[in-house]
């Protein structure tokens, strides 16, 4: 680049010098021409992201650039025509193979939709694997500990069998029942039901009050529905000791119940007073 290729620009330098009153300074003029020579004759080859930006308008630009600017052969012939040839195929045939061709021309920062869809599928697979692993873990715990199995079977039994059929089986684990005994009376007081003794039984029995009077055997069944397998039998027994005091303030409703639990009491009574 010699700096003397465009007379118009020389004029602009001349005008600038004369503006500043330095038109006679030849050495300054040549220095300014040197400075102007810093401008290269060709545009720098665009890097990937810029090329993508330029390629967006390539079909028309490619047609124009080689014809219009012969002075810039590298850009005109090297970069733009290749993109220009590729894009028209996409426009002409928007079918399967053309889309593949379009994918090849994705700019640097752009990801294809197909890739993102694959990522989503991968997420679903990972989620499924995690859930499966957790299920396996829970199964292993259930297999190793008996308590867990029992409690699960209890809850399942309570949920799916509203009428207490398995109450005979539940009392067998006698350990939970004593613990529940002291607890049972307390909620009954809080609930406001007059007799703690019936607290265990009463909530379940009121509906079947007639049945309670009729048979002791039937009477035992309703509690199972109310509290599950653990509570029903013990409440009757401990409750009865308090019964004598309660009937005084309560109605005669509870009185008929007393005779029913009494036969069972002797065995359980000694232990319960100790707790209270």
């Amino acid at each position: 680049m010699t700096g003397t290729r465009d007379p118009q620009q020389e004029d602009s330098i001349q005008a600038m010098l004369s503006d500043s009153g330095l038109e006679s300074a030849a050495e300054l003029r040549s220095a300014l021409e040197q400075l102007r020579a810093a401008v290269p004759g060709e545009a720098p080859a665009p890097r990937a992201d810029l090329a993508a930006l330029l390629a967006a308008g390539a079909p028309s630009a490619a047609r124009r650039v080689p014809a219009g600017t012969a002075a810039l052969p590298t850009i005109g012939t090297a970069v733009l025509p290749t993109v220009g040839e590729a894009l028209p195929t996409v426009g002409a045939a928007p079918g399967g193979p053309a889309e593949d061709a379009a994918d090849e021309f994705l700019p640097a920062g752009v990801t294809s939709l197909a890739e993102r869809r694959g990522r989503k599928r991968r997420l679903a697979i990972v989620g499924g694997a995690v859930v499966g692993a957790m299920t396996l873990g829970a199964g292993a715990v259930a297999a190793s500990s008996e308590d867990f199995r029992h409690s699960v079977s209890h809850t399942v039994g309570v949920i799916f069998h509203p009428s207490g059929e398995g109450r005979e089986a539940h009392p067998v684990p006698a350990t939970p029942s004593p613990a529940d005994l002291p607890a049972a009376p307390v909620p009954s007081h809080a609930a406001g039901t007059p007799t703690p003794s019936t607290a265990g039984t009463a909530p379940a029995t009121p509906g079947s009050a007639a049945a309670v009077h009729a048979e002791p055997g039937d009477r035992a069944t309703p509690p199972a529905t109310g509290r599950g397998g653990i509570l029903p039998t013990p409440p009757h027994r401990p409750v009865t000791p308090h019964m004598p005091a309660l009937p005084g303030r309560d109605g005669g409703k509870d009185l008929p119940e007393n005779p029913l639990p009494e036969p069972t009491l002797p065995s359980m009574l000694p232990s319960l007073p100790d707790h209270s």
Binding site: G3, L32, A38, L53, G57
Partner: protein, 182 residues
């Protein structure tokens, strides 16, 4: 550096039509590259491309035809240069490479191709920052006083003053150099 942008390409570019981008790039990027080179930027090409990546999508809002487009692009280039200078200030100071101390020295093919830009760049570097910017924008970017005033956020009178002082200082430096050489 002649304005090779046709009116059709210009109107397409200013309408935000990507078909004009390529023509704008071909026509104006050499001047931007020269501007950065004259200001001594290390990687002038990268900065030039940054400018166009920034500018091309925003051409739709530009008014003022050829001059407006040029002013807009060089405004962005100027801002980029300021950013570059500030970033360079924050980075650790690098000891300047002195070719005279280097036994492996050979003439730079690029310098030869570009004439004696190395010499004029050194001379320019001795001017004050604003004078240097005015002279570069006026000569390399080929902008008018008013355009330079808009880019540097100064009045045209201030730019004229800077230009006059810059030219005087440059003249002194050049003559001084000539005397030293001869």
């Amino acid at each position: 550096m002649a304005d090779q942008l046709s009116d059709d390409e210009l109107s397409a570019a200013l309408a935000g039509d990507p078909s004009g981008f390529s023509a704008v790039y071909v026509a104006i990027s050499p001047a931007v590259l020269g501007y950065f080179r004259a200001r001594g930027v290390d990687d002038a090409e990268a900065l030039t491309q940054d400018v166009f990546v920034d500018v091309l999508p925003k051409l739709a809002g530009v008014t003022g035809g050829h001059a407006g487009l040029r002013t807009f692009i060089f405004s962005v280039a100027h801002a980029r240069l300021v950013d570059y200078r500030r970033r360079a200030e924050r980075t650790p100071h690098l000891a300047e490479y002195d070719p005279l101390d280097d036994a492996r020295y050979s003439a730079s093919a690029e310098d030869e191709a570009l004439g004696s830009l190395g010499g004029i760049a050194d001379t320019l570097a001795r001017l004050n920052e604003e004078q240097r910017e005015v002279l570069t924008l006026r000569i390399v970017a080929d902008l008018s006083i008013e355009q330079v005033a808009g880019i540097m956020d100064k009045t045209p009178g201030a730019i004229k003053q800077l230009q006059r002082r810059g030219l005087s200082a440059l003249r002194e430096l050049v003559t001084e150099k000539d005397h030293a050489a001869s």
